[in-house]
């Protein structure tokens, strides 16, 4: 108490010096608080996003391993539905769904919808250069979400390279027919991208040839709920299938967004949804009707395992190995990949904040130590008097360190308070700048390839462009451009106090070393 009281008295009696050191510590504390807050924002945003995210997983052939081992990627056969269902029994799996996607042509006057003249001209033929195979959960855009093809028997006709990645041997049609195993598989509907506007969604267990079509397609062909549409095998226009329209949906996603991906998929308005059983009925019938397996309608199977969390995902990876998954296949998560991409801006900002913090603390420590040395020299006479009248040197050192600690605490409170007040807007400002630069870089890359410049990972762009949105809910595919909560929490406050304590210890140690070196007789006799 004596030391503290004396320290506070000394501080109040030496206002100029106290103010100078106090301002320095306040500036250091303020800067440190901003740096720590930005770093904390990155951490907490990452944790919160991961906690909110429902992680899904896919099993795909490990093409990287195949290439590195000198094998052709096609050496690994696609897994069958029964095999995929076997892995759904893994303990980490909360739910399992799948879709099959096929490409068909219109028949009986059914025209594909297009919102551009160039697209219209390309649709005059029986096939389109902008064909799509991506369904609601078809995740063909990234290597880690490559789809599984159960049959690839169609012959190639008019494929200019913009179709399926595995387009060889498969004929593209004007329409994408998606067969869903359950409501969860219809991710465009569960995520809110698509909504039924008239009629109702079919029962996903049905084998009846029923479907839902887009509002644009319905308008272009004057179709209503209850109408029947006819789809044909792209390889055989005589092989047709009639589907009854039971619902018409509205898709909020624009064609430009959907077509911006590397594969340049077709207009989403030409996506027709049916049940998995109905689609299987069509492909089975086509196989029987086709003269050879290469001309039958093929479908691509996409299986998704909902594992919930990151830990669930890691468990799933080990469990499928136990269940016998070959090393030629790998477990991936489009959600995590998409999340990592979206969180990159925060990570980059956190790194910058870390370096900023180190620089600030280093400069602050150097300045504070120098000030402390000069201050101690300036107060040499005081040290001499105190020790001459019997105050122990270590007590004098404690007194000086306590003065410094009191200033550091005040500086931490004031600087930390101001830092806390401005950390959120500063973080958001920096975040938006970093994010904007990343988006700009992506756009430049897209433009360099002559594609639409809408960036991958931009809000609303991910679903049908092939950038994967396989999660049933809340895939964090968009850039994190702002934080909603103030990042200055108890942890940051502790870190800030720790930083100020570190500075105090550094400066105090130098000061104490000087004090212990001084001899009162030398000081008072003017020899030091």
């Amino acid at each position: 108490m004596f030391i503290l009281r004396s320290a506070l008295r000394n501080l109040s009696r030496s206002k100029g010096r106290s103010l100078l050191i106090g301002i320095l510590i306040t500036v250091i504390a303020f800067s440190s608080c901003i740096g720590l807050a930005i770093r904390q924002a990155a951490k907490s945003s990452r944790a919160a996003a991961l906690a909110d995210m429902t992680v899904t997983a896919q099993i795909t052939p490990d093409r990287t391993q195949a290439i590195s081992s000198g094998q052709k990627p096609s050496a690994f056969k696609e897994l069958s539905l029964s095999t995929l269902q076997k892995y759904a029994k893994a303990g980490a799996v909360k739910s399992f769904y799948y879709t099959a996607t096929a490409s068909l042509d219109g028949s009986g006057g059914l025209e594909a919808y297009s919102n551009t003249s160039s697209d219209s001209s390309s649709q005059s033929g029986s096939s389109s250069s902008s064909s799509s195979a991506s369904g609601a959960s078809a995740s063909t855009g990234t290597s880690q979400t490559a789809s599984l093809t159960t049959a690839a028997s169609a012959t190639e006709k008019g494929n200019d390279g913009k179709g399926f990645p595995e387009g060889k041997g498969m004929q593209m049609g004007d329409f994408t027919l998606v067969g869903a195993s359950s409501d969860d598989a219809l991710t465009d509907f569960t995520s809110g991208t698509s909504k039924i506007k008239s009629g109702a969604m079919f029962d996903t267990d049905t084998s009846d040839l029923v479907c839902v079509i887009s509002q644009e397609l319905a308008s272009a062909n004057s179709l209503k709920v209850g109408s029947t549409i006819t789809l044909a095998n792209p390889n055989s226009s005589k092989e047709t299938y009639k589907l009854k329209v039971v619902g018409i949906y509205q898709n909020s996603q624009s064609a430009a967004q959907a077509m911006a991906g590397p594969q340049g998929m077709s207009d989403p308005a030409n996506t027709i949804y049916t049940s998995y059983n109905a689609l299987k009925k069509i492909t089975d019938a086509s196989s029987k009707a086709a003269s050879s397996s290469s001309t039958a309608i093929s479908s691509r199977l996409n299986a998704t395992y909902v594992v919930g969390s990151v830990s669930g995902y890691n468990k799933f990876k080990s469990q499928v190995k136990e269940l016998g998954l070959s090393s030629g296949y790998t477990v991936t998560s489009a959600d995590l990949t998409s999340y990592e991409r979206s969180a990159a801006s925060l990570e980059q900002l956190a790194k910058l904040a870390g370096w900023f913090l180190v620089v600030i603390l280093a400069i602050g420590a150097v300045i504070l130590v120098i000030m402390s040395v000069f201050s101690t020299r300036e107060r040499k006479y005081e040290i001499g008097v105190l020790t001459a009248i019997g105050m122990k040197k270590r007590e004098v050192a404690r007194l000086f360190v306590t003065e410094l600690a009191a200033l550091a605490l005040c500086g931490a409170i004031i600087g930390g308070g101001i830092g806390a007040a401005v950390s959120k807007p500063v973080t958001n400002k920096l975040l938006s700048k970093v994010s904007a630069s990343q988006v700009s870089a992506q756009m430049d890359r897209q433009e360099a390839f002559g594609r639409d410049s809408a960036p991958q990972g931009a809000p609303g762009q991910d679903s049908k462009s092939g950038t994967s949105k396989s999660s049933g809910n809340g895939s964090p595919a968009s850039q994190i451009t702002s934080i909603t909560k103030n990042p200055v929490n108890g942890y940051v406050v502790l870190e800030l106090l720790g930083a100020c304590l570190l500075l105090t210890v550094c400066a105090g140690a130098v000061s104490a070393a000087s004090i212990l070196r001084y001899e009162p007789l030398d000081i008072l006799s003017g020899r030091d």
Binding site: F2, S6, R9, N10, R13, S14, E382, G384, V385, L386, T387, A388, I389, G390, M391, K392, E395, E519, P520, L521, L524, S525
Partner: protein, 245 residues
Amino acid sequence: MLKENVEKLMPETSADAVPAPSPRELVRLDRLCYSYGSHQVLKNISASFLAGKIYAIVGRSGAGKTTLLSVMSGLTDPTSGSLYVNGEDIRKEDKYIYRSHTVGVIFQSYNLLNKLTALENVVLSMEISLRNQGTHYDRAALQEEARRLLDRVGLTPDEMDRRVLKLSGGQQQRVAIARALACQPDILLADEPTGSLDQETQAEIMTLLKDLAREGKCVIIVTHSPEVAGMADEQITLTQAKKTA
């Protein structure tokens, strides 16, 4: 009391034997020497100082008066020889306790803490002394005692609460005396206590020191002033590392 050849007066003792102090002897110097490097300032100083007397140490500049006072105040150790206080060799004592409790020192340039008031200077000295002894204290009681001491040395209540920089030289000297008395020492060491004071104040300070001696304290003054030396009970002259009575 002081002899030119002290060794003749001292009983033959072994090197480790501690001479027994006389009942009123507070300080004894035994063949005390002090050197700054190769330059010997004090050589074989032997003397004893009794309670209730004022001693004036005089001598030419460079004779070692202030050095002797520094050794006696515990600010530095003798190069050789011994200094006994109350029969104890101060080498074996805690220097901080010695400086804050056993002796009171009035420095030539006062050596007050300029940012503090006169009262705070005195209270601080009391607190340091009591803390070194591990004694709990009531700060309010210390302040009361400090006011009493400052009142005794002639400071008004207003002057007590003034920062020492705003006090005159004479007032600062009084504060320095009050601070030296704060720990109730038996020995009072004063280095030129009236050096920069006018005649009237000088007389007042000397009267005060005489009063303290009459109360039983041993007052040792280093001075150049023949007037001050004349007011002492005994004079000690240091000449080139030698002393004469």
